[in-house]
């Protein structure tokens, strides 16, 4: 992938990711998150992970974000009014987040492996859906079925939580 496309998509993703937490209006935050996920899907495809990129668009930008928007509109949330901010908690949280970022960047800049470029693939055709599927239904068959049970439990749990009164 040409490097300017990488920086374009990475920049779009980071700007809209920051807008998610800057926006006061929850609907604007959710729509920024959609754009952020689309940029992330483009980055996945630049890493030759086409299957994961498609899944990202379908599951995250499609299903999950529709769920978010649905709940925001169901609860009829307005842009939150300005409250008196707890400045000690705000600066504390900001300092912790910035120090985490500085630590991550320091580790990356000291790692020798991070300075290498990506090795070329053996063939431009990766067949990644086939390869991921073979692993998923072969070596990772048990975790795959456990995930199925997890989704079943989550579905039952959501229905129980959504009932008005439990008997």
């Amino acid at each position: 992938m040409p490097s300017f496309l990488f920086w374009l998509f990475a920049g779009v993703m980071l700007i809209f990711g920051a807008l998610v937490i800057i926006n006061r209006n929850p609907i604007a935050s959710a729509l920024s998150l959609v754009v952020c996920f689309l940029g992330l899907a483009a980055l996945f495809m630049s890493l030759d992970a086409f299957f994961i990129g498609i899944i990202q668009v379908l599951v995250y930008a499609g299903a999950v974000m529709v769920l978010f928007l649905f709940i925001i509109m169901l609860l009829d949330l307005r842009a939150e009014e300005r409250r008196t901010m707890n400045w000690v908690a705000f600066t504390g949280g900001f300092v912790v987040a910035v120090s985490l970022l500085v630590q991550i960047l320091a580790v990356i800049s000291r790692t020798q492996m991070a300075k290498q470029t990506f090795p070329p693939l053996a063939s431009p055709q990766t067949d990644d859906v086939r390869n991921v599927g073979l692993l998923l239904f072969g070596h990772y068959n048990l975790p795959f079925q456990v995930i199925g049970v997890l989704i079943l439990v989550a579905t039952v749990g959501v229905i129980v939580l959504s009932k008005r009164q439990l008997r």
Binding site: I21, Q56, V59, L75, G93, S109, K115, L135
Partner: protein, 106 residues
């Protein structure tokens, strides 16, 4: 050419953005979206490592992509349960502001 470090840097910045969102915002739904940002930052670094370390056949290491698939599945289930909890909380308290939800506070 883009290096592995570029992808890891972008992933680290995205994680820090999500982390600061969890710490700084007071709206439960925004906190939830920031959690999704952090999960996706982890996914990005996993996929970058999968492309970086090729297998013997010269193809990316697909174990990491299977893990990303599992993370996306678990995250989708987590969003469903979390939003159901938020709706139940809103019914009981008429608020999504974390500072108004302090019954368990000592």
């Amino acid at each position: 050419m883009t290096t592995l470090g570029d992808y890891l840097t972008v992933s680290g910045i995205l994680f820090a953005v999500g982390f600061s969102g969890v710490l700084l915002r007071r709206n439960v739904i925004i906190i939830f979206m920031a959690l999704e940002l952090m999960l996706n930052a982890a996914n990005l670094s996993l996929v970058a490592f999968s492309r970086f370390r090729l297998g013997e056949d010269g193809l990316p290491s697909y174990n990491a992509q299977v893990l990303v698939f599992f993370i996306i599945t678990v995250a989708a289930a987590e969003v469903a349960v979390g939003l159901a909890i938020i709706v139940a909380l809103y019914r009981a308290r008429r608020t999504t502001h974390v500072e108004d939800i302090n019954s368990l506070k000592f």
